[in-house]
């Protein structure tokens, strides 16, 4: 995927990361945490143009949950409120043991997609989210068994090597779908040339999704649209609409990136179009 995809009028898939597992309502009170709030947010972002919702689960007090039952409650709420949006579960979880990391894959039905972190990243001052190759392979194996499309999360350039390693170790269905992530800390430095380099480094025929954390969300989404990729926005990655102004909702962030895409001449993919582009099972 490249600028050619932009010239070819390929629609852009907008993913909305609704809640996340790091910050919560203490950072922005508009961030949805309960299943009902997440279900309503999913419907709102679908109406705004998102075709994929990226989901984490939380306890009633906003703390992280990895339990299958909690993901099931959220999925049920999403399907109750939204029409046809693609459900993507996170399998991320700093500090969580390997068996716990598998639990989000075991809902009924399984999510159509799930994230797969490509390697280690530092958290705070004394913690590393390890994401060993053994865990990545184990999560991928269960995704294959359950018909789940992996979204390969590339937090830095080293993870591009890990993506190639995964492709050598395991049989990945086409298209390989990589999310290129830019921001502080262990992430790739958020510079345009680094996005271009990452795109150039992807396997042939891979599709890519673009995330910029914090203030980089809008510029990196815009570049992702122009360079023929897909984009992710939402309160998981950025709680502000502009400097000093908290976002009112996930839908507000989706509406803006949809306006940008259309101004740049790219239509936004419906859930059905997104399934075709990603090779998902109907």
């Amino acid at each position: 995927m490249s600028y050619e995809a932009f010239l070819a009028d390929e629609p852009v898939i907008v993913t909305a990361a609704l809640t996340g597992g790091v910050h919560g309502k203490e950072a922005n009170p508009n961030l949805p945490e309960t299943p009902e709030e997440i279900g309503q947010a999913a419907a709102a972002v679908e109406d705004a143009g998102a075709s994929v919702v990226h989901l984490h689960a939380r306890r009633p007090n906003g703390e992280r949950s990895f339990e299958t039952d909690r993901f099931q409650e959220i999925d049920d709420a999403v399907r109750r409120h939204a029409d046809d949006v693609i459900v993507q579960h996170s399998t991320g979880g700093t500090g969580a043991p390997a068996d716990v990391r598998h639990l989000p894959l075991r809902t009924d039905p399984p999510p159509e997609m799930a994230s797969l972190d490509m390697g280690p990243l530092n958290r705070y001052d004394h913690l590393t989210s390890e994401n060993s190759r053994a865990l990545i392979d184990s999560l991928h194996a269960e995704m294959v068994d359950r018909g789940i499309k992996p979204e390969l999360e590339v937090f830095n350039d080293g993870h591009l090597n890990e993506l190639y390693g995964l492709c050598e170790r395991r049989d990945l269905a086409d298209p390989v779908y990589a999310t290129l992530i830019f921001g502080p800390g262990t992430l790739s430095r958020p510079r345009p040339r680094n996005l271009l380099n990452a795109i150039d480094s992807l396997p042939d025929d891979a599709a890519f999704n673009t995330i910029g954390f914090g203030r980089h969300q809008l510029p990196f989404a815009t570049m992702g649209i122009l360079f023929g990729g897909h984009v992710r926005v939402g309160l998981e990655d950025n709680v502000y609409y502009r400097r000093g102004e908290l976002a009112e909702s996930n839908a507000q962030l989706v509406e803006r990136v949809v306006r940008v895409a259309r101004e740049l001449g790219r239509e936004v993919a419906s859930p059905s179009q997104a399934r075709d582009l990603l090779g998902l099972r109907e």
Partner: protein, 76 residues
């Protein structure tokens, strides 16, 4: 065992919540969801290994004292 500086509150400053949330009495703020797992020593995480706030207090000689715990309003 949970961090002695952890409290659960529904209100602090302008912030108000329906469910009691994890609050760090050293940092004087509600903590992120991921950090709350460190505060509660969940999933193999440990406040005395992974939390720079706790470790900073321990370096200052104040780690885990009863006086601090009392000031926090107690643990859940």
């Amino acid at each position: 065992m949970a961090c002695p500086y952890l409290a659960y509150r529904t209100q602090a400053g302008d912030a108000q919540f329906d469910e009691p949330r994890a609050y760090c009495t050293v940092a004087d703020r509600f903590v992120q969801a991921m950090r709350a797992d460190i505060c509660n020593d969940r999933y193999g995480l440990a406040h005395d290994e992974h939390c720079e706030i706790y470790l900073g207090c321990a370096d200052d000689g104040g780690g885990g004292t009863d006086q601090r715990r009392d000031r926090s309003g107690g643990n859940p």
